[in-house]
């Protein structure tokens, strides 16, 4: 079956944007803003790069809007999962800390 041709955006412009954003990402890890700010900047840059690949290389920009909603669902699920798992992770970490402290304390009898 012959396919329908899409519009072809300026792929070289997207390529250079992605290459420059990768260099910026590497530069961000040396910034003195602290772990949290650097982390937010890196997440933003990664999501921006991923969005460029999805929208222009995967042609999502030229597809039906509903397909874009379907495509973004995994990101929402993964983000939700982080918040679902974090409390459990912190509880386990705290429990092992308490266990470690009890083992280190001298026996009373």
């Amino acid at each position: 079956m012959a396919g329908t041709e899409h519009k072809h955006p300026n792929y070289m412009a997207i390529f250079w944007t992605l290459a420059i954003l990768t260099v910026v990402e590497i530069g961000v890890i040396f910034l003195p803003f602290g772990k949290f700010t650097n982390g937010v900047l890196l997440c933003g840059l990664a999501l921006g790069k991923a969005a460029l690949v999805a929208m222009y290389f995967m042609h999502l920009r030229f597809e039906a809007r509903t397909l874009g909603v379907v495509a973004i669902t995994p990101l929402a699920i993964a983000t939700l999962l982080v918040f679902v798992l974090l409390p459990d992770g912190f509880a386990v970490a705290k429990k092992s800390q308490v266990k470690g402290a009890a083992a280190a304390a001298p026996a009373k009898h």
Binding site: A2, G3, E5, T66, T73, L85, A93
Partner: protein, 199 residues
């Protein structure tokens, strides 16, 4: 009873059911990678002795690998562009460039793995702290590496497929679907590079 008739074309990707099939596969695959990365993030956030990845893994080689995958995404879209213009020879040349980029990526990853294993990083052990660091590193990068390997095989089979079609336009849809897979592999690496090497 009146039977509902399935429409001849999908409203999401009217030009091809195959494209919709690939999107459904990719969304499922993305959930898999999303769960792995979310699990990695939680383990890291709650661990007291998680090493700083860019200090112990090194990012020079992986930055090069990232650049290589971005280049291979461009060669992939160029292959599709030439196919759209009816130039089968150039399209095949760019498909081969893309497969070559993927093959070099896998070789570099094998080199990185052997180097890290030699330094003591294992799937159940890590000389710089939490052993889950080694586990998550090899599982996530290994899962992605398998995707790249599968992608190289897929691209090479597409070269043969394009060659066997009498009209270059007939293979446009198939190559576009293969391209979706390849760009997805690139997209996932962008996330893996940030979350497992830079953060």
């Amino acid at each position: 009873m009146h039977m509902a008739v399935e429409p001849a074309e999908t409203p999401l990707t009217p030009e091809s059911w195959g494209k919709l099939g690939m999107w459904i596969f990719l969304v499922g695959d993305a959930v898999g990678f999303g769960v792995l990365l979310a699990g990695y993030g939680v383990m890291r956030a709650t661990s007291a002795d998680w090493p700083s990845p860019y200090d112990v893994l090194g990012i020079n080689l992986t930055a090069l690998m990232t650049f290589l995958l971005i280049c291979s995404s461009v060669t992939m879209v160029k292959a599709l562009e030439w196919l759209g213009k009816g130039d089968r020879v150039r399209a095949i040349r760019f498909l081969l460039f893309t497969a070559l980029g993927g093959a070099i990526f896998v070789c570099l990853q094998a080199y990185e793995w052997s180097h890290l294993i030699h330094r003591g990083l294992h799937i159940n052990g890590n000389p710089w702290g939490a052993s889950l660091f080694g586990t998550s590193f090899f599982i996530v990068t290994g899962f992605h590496g398998l995707h790249v390997t599968g992608g190289v095989i897929y691209l090479l089979s597409m070269v043969r497929w394009v060659l066997n079609r009498p009209d270059p336009g007939d293979s446009y849809n198939g190559v576009e679907i293969a391209g979706l897979y390849w760009h997805f592999v690139d997209l996932v690496w962008i996330m893996v590079f940030t979350f497992m090497y830079l953060l």
